[in-house]
């Protein structure tokens, strides 16, 4: 299991870049382009990319 609960609790808007194993936050930004740029500056070429979700609803399809 991958635990993103702490990261998602802290960051409720915008884009996030995570390490390729999805365990650590590398960068956050207002746009995808911005987080890609920040991740690359930190030496991560293939970050996992996530637009912060709405998790206040149960998913039924």
């Amino acid at each position: 299991m991958t635990d993103l609960s702490k990261i998602l609790k802290k960051h409720k808007t915008g884009w996030l870049a995570l390490t390729p194993n999805n365990e650590k936050l590398i960068a956050k930004g207002k746009t995808l382009k911005e987080v890609l740029k920040y991740a690359k500056k930190k030496g991560v070429d293939k970050p996992t990319l996530l637009k912060t979700p709405s998790i206040d609803n149960y998913f039924i399809g």
């Binding site: 991958t2 979700p53 206040d56 039924i60």
Partner: protein, 155 residues
């Protein structure tokens, strides 16, 4: 190829509720430039008929998004969003532990927020564009297993 479930947390009236969701990392690329791959974290959604992704990925991969065929996606409770279909490459790559799985299929890019019934705003992996290419096992809460479809040969 095995993927773990992802734990997210929400707060309802000060009560902490943890949920495990089938979010997986996958690669997407424009077949005209296979070397530029982006890796969204998307919801594997067995009831979505199509795969759709936030428009910023399409722009970053060089698509002229509005040139694609526009279709309307309907969700639970009548929520609807417009998506523009394009041919997209998808790759599953778990850091060399297994052989990569690749496909090219139609995927929609959307400028709209995804319907509120979907706990995701990045990507929804549905039947067209993803699920129809694989055998997928949901072993909740342990893992999701994704394999190439078996081809049976009869002699």
């Amino acid at each position: 190829m095995i993927f773990p479930y992802v734990k997210v947390t929400r707060f309802l009236k000060y009560q902490k509720i943890e949920r495990l969701l089938p979010w997986i990392r996958f690669g997407i690329y424009n077949p005209e430039n296979k070397s530029n791959i982006l890796y969204p974290l998307g919801l594997l959604d067995s009831v979505s008929e199509i795969t759709f992704i936030d428009h910023e990925f399409g722009e970053e991969l060089g698509y002229d998004i509005k040139k694609g065929r526009k279709i309307e996606v309907l969700g639970v409770g009548g929520a609807k969003i417009d998506v523009y279909l394009h041919k997209v490459g998808i790759v599953l790559d778990n850091s060399g532990k297994d052989e990569n799985l690749r496909l090219e299929d139609l995927v929609g890019f959307s400028y709209n927020k995804f319907p509120p019934s979907m706990p995701q705003q990045t990507a929804i992996l549905g039947t067209l564009g993803f699920i129809r290419h694989f055998n997928i096992t949901f072993n909740y809460p342990s893992f999701i297993k994704i394999e190439n479809k078996l081809t049976l040969k009869f002699s």
